[in-house]
């Protein structure tokens, strides 16, 4: 079946209400039409669009709300401040969104299971402190690559511990990650040693590399080459895969659709590189695709492959949809669950490395503030379209939701709005997104 999990239609996620007896299957024939992913049912491009529209009207809107949200945000802020959509600001916006995006992706691994990981912010904080301390020339003085690997492993270990407590000891994830974040906050402060740690000293090679991770970028030429390579790879893979399905008579999207997707990829690739190559410095030259864009892209692709194209990912969605069914099918619930928390912590660790690079110097207050990121991570995931109830969500949701949050922060900041009011707005957006989620699920199921 080529339907992407994460866009599963009605009735598969979550159990029925108490008291429901045997599933009455006589109803299904009339209901199903709009639930089949349009890609599968369509034989031509126009059929595809019609089917998609039908799906949206029945409530299965996928990423449409968040994309619409991005468009609205972009237009609104552009009107308020013409500098919003400038090349410099767009890159700036992306940089600010990176942390949100990564943490949202991390959180999605927990949300898909129907769990929650409240510690992602602090894992990031801990990771940032650890990597910064490890490269200190007067301290551990590790090479940058060793520091990063150690940090990621340490974060993964934290995830393993939390995951085991949830999966094997059967403790509620809410509590485990709540206790976890408290403990990690204390540990991070201890590692920090009470003062601050910085990686801003460009005399030291290791610190310089670390700094560069967030602030550095590819040269324009390399940017173009990279883009061409990526688009070519992705395009060829997509074309070949769909062609193979068609050859074997399996359900496959129409050729025109595949071509359109590849064209879209190419166009967006060109646009992105062009924007990035514009000189965005006030003095001197800063241009080119930032490293972090590639990092986020790699994380996005790998996680998407993991979730959509491997057994592991399939089992994750299964557990989120119906854990008992998964268990009876032979899926090892403790193992999958633990690994999801490991992945969540690992990606939070990546975010931590970027965070250290971004902040340049870390203090106790910054560590304490990293706690607030978990709320934004959950918000980003929900805004992006991931369900809080498990079984529904994709990595791309984290990226899009993170962009929305980052966009709001960026736009409001440009308008001179104080950070308190920004929090108010984000709260409003989160509620609106949740409302859309609830209403769309209600519409899809016919009756609450």
């Amino acid at each position: 079946m080529t339907a992407d999990p994460g866009e599963t239609p009605t009735g598969t996620a979550g159990a029925g209400p108490a008291g429901a007896t045997a599933t009455d299957l006589t109803l299904d024939a009339k209901v199903a039409a709009a639930d089949v992913p349009p890609e599968l049912a369509a034989q031509s491009l126009s059929q595809y669009f019609r089917a998609s529209w039908l799906q949206v009207r029945r409530g299965n809107s996928g990423v449409l709300p968040v994309v619409l949200g991005i468009v609205i945000v972009a237009i609104a802020f552009q009107i308020a401040n013409p500098k919003f959509l400038s090349a410099q600001n767009l890159v700036n916006l992306f940089e600010q969104s990176t942390i949100y995006m990564l943490l949202a992706i991390a959180e999605i691994f927990a949300l898909l299971l129907g769990e929650i990981d409240l510690s992602v912010g602090l894992v990031m904080g801990l990771g940032s402190v650890v990597v910064a301390e490890l490269v200190q020339p007067t301290g551990a003085n590790w090479p940058w690559w060793a520091a990063i690997i150690a940090t990621l492993l340490a974060c993964a270990a934290v995830g393993a511990i939390q995951g085991s407590m949830v999966a094997r000891l059967k403790m509620p994830s809410f509590i485990v990650t709540l206790g976890g974040l408290l403990i990690l906050e204390g540990v991070a402060i201890i590692v920090l040693g009470g003062s601050l740690v910085g990686i801003g000293n460009s005399q030291y090679h290791n610190e310089l590399v670390l700094y560069d991770i967030f602030w550095g970028s590819f040269s324009p030429l390399v940017g173009w080459i990279l883009m061409i390579v990526v688009v070519a790879l992705a395009g060829t893979t997509l074309w070949l895969r769909d062609a193979r399905k068609r050859r074997h008579g399996l359900e496959a999207p129409p050729r025109s659709l595949t071509a359109m997707k590849i064209a879209l990829m190419a166009v967006s690739g060109v646009v992105v590189v062009a924007i990035c190559n514009v000189n965005r410095a006030h003095f001197g030259t800063i241009e080119g695709v930032p490293y972090i864009l590639l990092i986020v892209l790699v994380v996005l692709v790998l996680c998407t492959i993991l979730l959509q194209r491997t057994r592991f990912g399939r089992y994750v969605y299964a557990i989120g949809g119906n854990p008992e069914a998964a268990r009876r099918a032979g899926v090892s619930l403790p193992s999958i669950r633990t690994w999801c928390f490991v992945l969540a912590a690992f990606i939070s660790g990546i975010a931590g490395v970027l965070f250290a690079s971004w902040q340049v110097s870390l203090t106790t207050n910054i560590i304490k503030a990293s706690n607030s990121y978990v709320l934004l991570a959950v918000a980003a995931a929900v805004i992006g379209g991931t369900s809080l109830f498990g079984g529904r969500g994709k990595t791309i949701h984290g990226v899009l939701g993170g962009l929305v949050i980052g966009g709001i922060y960026n736009g409001l900041y440009l308008l001179g709005v104080s950070s308190q009011w920004i929090d108010v707005v984000v709260a409003g957006v989160l509620l609106a997104a949740a409302l859309v989620d609830v209403l769309s699920r209600r519409g899809a199921q016919g009756q609450a």
């Binding site: 008291g19 007896t21 045997a22 006589t26 009339k30 016919g446």
Partner: protein, 274 residues
């Protein structure tokens, strides 16, 4: 396949006249799906009616319509001879209709007394009158001869399946009910516990209540029922005294809507509508 809607012929054997509850021509649909087509049903007092039907035949929908959870789209309900409208579960309770659902609808964390009075607690001076509630609950349980529960104050979670079923039934009976609807009361019970629940049902009947039991299990049905009614794809295909039926034709009615290739005639002894 042809299916007929049998005109109701069942009558109270004692000849009291009107059955306690009469349904005539009940329709119910959910969106495009029709769950009940012109259903007629008689539930006389002092008798146990077994409602049979395959999955999806509409048994639960019919039960919930009587209980006030759903409103019929067409047709009429008669209670003690008068036409009535049952808009809510409270209306049903006010009439004297109590339902025991398949999932028992008991809150595990509350004790027996609290569950039996859920939603209808007695107050004294604005606070819960625990003492009088406990007394009433104890009396009801002892009248029904439920004596092996250790304490009336133990949480329902600590009761076995049979005991919970008894509590659910006692809850239904406590409110001066006249009609008790039981949805699959023995479905989740073992042999011994099934026995005790069936005895309980007979005791309800002996007290003069009308009882309707939905059940798949024809052994149970034939043991307790005085009347049988069979639903097939939303239609009432037959109903009448249990003596007119045996397991085989009931199964045929359940799976095909007819028995022996032709509509089954109830015994001619049944007179027409009163």
């Amino acid at each position: 396949m042809t299916e007929t809607n049998e005109s109701p012929k069942g009558e109270t054997p004692t000849g009291d006249g009107e059955p306690l509850l009469k349904l005539r021509g009940i329709d119910k649909h959910f969106g495009p799906v029709q769950a009940l087509y012109g259903v007629d049903l008689d539930l006389p007092a002092g008798q146990v009616t077994g409602l049979c039907g395959d999955n999806g035949a509409g048994k639960s929908v019919l039960t919930r319509t009587i209980a006030g959870v759903h409103q019929p789209d067409a047709g009429q309900i008669y209670w003690e001879g008068r036409p009535v409208r049952i808009h809510s579960t409270r209306d049903a309770s006010a009439l004297g209709i109590e339902t025991v659902y398949q999932d028992l609808a008991l809150a595990d964390n509350l004790d027996i007394v609290q569950n039996m009075f859920l939603g209808r607690e007695k107050l004294s001076h604005g606070l819960l009158d625990e003492d009088s509630m406990e007394k009433t609950a104890a009396e009801t349980l002892s009248t029904l001869r439920v004596t092996t529960v250790r304490s009336i104050r133990q949480p329902v979670a600590s009761l076995s399946g049979g005991q919970r079923q008894s509590v659910a039934v006692a809850k239904a009976v406590m409110w001066n009910s006249k009609l008790v609807l039981l949805d699959e009361p023995t479905a989740a019970l073992g042999v011994v516990q099934t026995r005790s629940v069936l005895d309980l049902i007979k005791r309800l009947r002996d007290r003069g209540l009308a009882v309707m039991v939905i059940s798949h299990n024809l052994n149970d049905v034939f043991e307790v029922a005085d009347r049988i009614a069979v639903l097939y794809l939303g239609r009432m295909v037959t109903q009448g005294p249990v003596a007119d039926y045996d397991r085989q034709n009931v199964v045929e009615y359940m799976t095909t809507g007819t028995a022996g290739g032709r509509p089954f005639e109830t015994t001619a002894a049944a007179s027409g509508e009163g």
